[in-house]
């Protein structure tokens, strides 16, 4: 198992390093990630959402639906713990 794990880890790492070569320079303001969708968030957020914090504007407004999903994930985890860990009220302890 350890050998398989090592091979899997190395293969994943190799694949990722293979992809690094064409990655844009770190911190390049003109990289696609910073120039396609995100400039509009920076320019319009205050006007459209009246929120100076752009992260908040995107989190709660532009992509508010993701945030609904995020809260649902927490709710799911909470209920999951209730489902798994709640015991019948007769034994008392293990």
């Amino acid at each position: 198992m350890k050998v398989i794990a090592l091979i899997a880890a190395i293969m994943t790492g190799a694949l990722l390093i293979y992809g690094i070569e064409e990655m844009p320079e770190w911190g390049d303001p003109n990289s696609p990630a910073s120039s396609h969708v995100s400039p509009l968030y920076i320019q319009e957020a205050i006007e459209k959402t009246a929120t100076p914090n752009m992260v908040t504007a995107v989190l709660a407004d532009y992509r508010g639906y993701d945030t609904l999903g995020e809260t649902t994930v927490i709710f799911t985890a909470g209920i999951a713990c209730v489902l798994m860990l709640r015991k019948k009220r007769k034994g008392g302890g293990d």
Partner: protein, 132 residues
């Protein structure tokens, strides 16, 4: 070569972290160690995303200063603020990773209640002995 490594060192760091996490998840025998590996793995991805939001050259945190609502009509300099989108995505991903850890810990409690151990080989042995 050195420039090549240093220019993108954010990627190298996260690749290394990710390999450590992946190895721990698959290769370790102790279930808690697997879980810790999972956390390292998820943190690596979070670091990767955050690093894609960085802009060099004087960019600051994506919070507008001095643009009072209503009359902020002078054009906002895009290069002056970090890319907010990866931050948003990672807020969600952090929550997901915490929730996964929580559920996994609850499952570990179930396992511990049943077998009194968290070592994978010991559990397998117990299951073999009891014939299930």
């Amino acid at each position: 070569m050195l420039d090549y490594v240093i220019g993108k060192y954010n990627f190298w760091i996260y690749v290394v972290l990710m390999m450590i996490g992946l190895y721990a998840m698959m290769g370790k025998k102790n279930l808690v160690k697997k879980l810790i590996g999972m956390n390292i793995f998820q943190s690596a991805i979070i670091l990767f995303y955050i690093s894609t939001g960085v802009k060099k050259g004087g960019a600051t945190v994506p919070i507008l200063m001095g643009h009072a609502q209503g009359h902020g009509h002078q054009a906002i300099d895009v290069a002056g603020y970090l890319n907010p989108l990866p931050h948003v995505l990672m807020l969600t991903a952090i929550v997901v990773s915490i929730a996964t850890t929580g559920v996994a810990l609850a499952i570990l409690i179930l396992i511990y209640r049943r077998y009194n151990t968290l070592e994978e080989d010991e559990i397998l042995k117990i299951r073999k002995d009891t014939g299930v």
